[in-house]
Subunit: 218 residues, 2 copies
DNA sequence: GCACTATTGCACGCAAGAGTGCAAGAGTCA
DNA sequence: TGACTCTTGCACTCTTGCGTGCAATAGTGC
């Protein structure tokens, strides 16, 4: 939904000047860092330029606006989050060992969501949800939404094998996900620099156990 | 932890001028509305003054700073959230009908968290967690933390009655809470003006069912 | 009604930050 | 090397918003 590549049309039309390419990359890197750290309003273009090792004027040569920059950069971040999401739990339901598989997915989920830049990105999206509601919605469909769908597929596979008894797979997927990392994720949103590990693992394991007791086919 | 009543010492020392009282109330109301709607940085004191029907100068007669105003107002909001929280699930574990009681608590929780000003407050706390980390921590301990403790006590009562088999009550309380409204709350943080109801109820009911299947004593 | 105190409005000063213009310099491609 | 394009630095404008000073006014308590 959001427009990326604000000034170039199709990428294929003639190779871009390497200077432009380098500038773009440096700016993108500096911008996402600043936006995530300070938010849209408090991130200044002077700082971004300085951090990117680029003149402020150059930013304006590429992006029309602070807003255009933000949209482009945030769009990329959401793309990245989506790319991560398609890989999570993709193979779920492949074996007969439900507990092992679910535990592995629980760990994978925890690591992926709490380890990388997802939590800061979520904070930014929530902070700017009033100003840029499309991004929040877009993210939610493409990242957590995709994970839920994938999880649901895997749970259905277990159901078909007679290892779990799943009635509403989408609902069960949500329940599994929030059992595993709901509490950890919620805390993480509030504790800006808290250590991510510790209770996270315990919650993941315990969550899987509860899920299994509720949904085991026996 | 945060300082409220920035300029008066103990409240008991002589009744305050009613003019001050009125100003304070009007300012507080306008300020929390603006801060919640626009965030710390984008909320302007001119707007708050206009909205409160008060001269900007008056705000500075009461609060030294924009920051002092924010701290005072946010402190009050957290107090209110805490007051709400002590009432949630206080009577849990009083009867023998686990399912009915848990379902009632699930509805109560959903309504309390998703219905009032809690979600916008959470958004604000998350947005400003980098600038004011004390408030985020403080809130988390005093509101959700308190609810978890209360829930855990109730679950323990069911365990003592032999109706549930609870090993780690704090963990079980978290699991229940996030089964019931984890998904709804997470969505709510991103969807600024989305309708709160609809799937919320379904998640609450289904969450309780899963919890019971996992923890029933039979 | 009187002394006192808070509110008001308004015009400031000041700083930060978005966005622009331009001429000089440097990289790129053939 | 030459033609071209992008980057750079710098100074500049404009807006927004914080915070203050002051003299006039109005509410409060006795």
């Amino acid at each position: 939904m959001p427009d990326r590549d604000p000034k170039t049309g199709p990428d294929a039309t003639a190779a871009v000047d390497p200077r432009v390419r380098r500038s773009r990359e440096a700016i993108a890197e500096a911008a996402i860092a600043q936006f995530i750290e300070r938010g849209y309003r408090d991130a200044s273009l002077d700082d971004i330029a300085r951090l990117a090792g680029v003149a402020k004027r150059t930013i304006y040569n590429i992006y029309t606006d602070k807003e255009a920059l933000f949209r482009a950069i945030l769009g990329e971040a959401v793309d990245t989050a989506e790319r991560f999401s398609v890989e999570v739990a993709a193979t779920l339901g492949g074996t007969d060992d439900v507990e092992t598989e679910l535990t592995a997915v629980a760990r994978e989920l925890s690591r992926a969501v709490l380890g990388g830049r997802i939590v800061p990105l979520r904070r930014l999206l929530i902070s700017e949800a009033a100003r840029f509601p499309e991004f929040a919605r877009d993210y939610y469909e493409r990242a957590p939404g995709r994970v839920m769908t994938t999880l649901a597929l895997g749970l259905n596979r277990f159901d078909e094998r007679g290892l779990l008894r799943i009635d509403d797979a989408e609902m069960a997927a949500e329940q599994l996900a929030f059992l595993v990392l709901g509490a950890s994720l919620d805390r993480a949103l509030f504790e800006v620099d808290g250590p991510p590990t510790e209770a996270v693992e315990a919650r993941a394991i315990a969550g899987v156990r509860v899920f299994l007791r509720a949904y085991a086919a026996t």
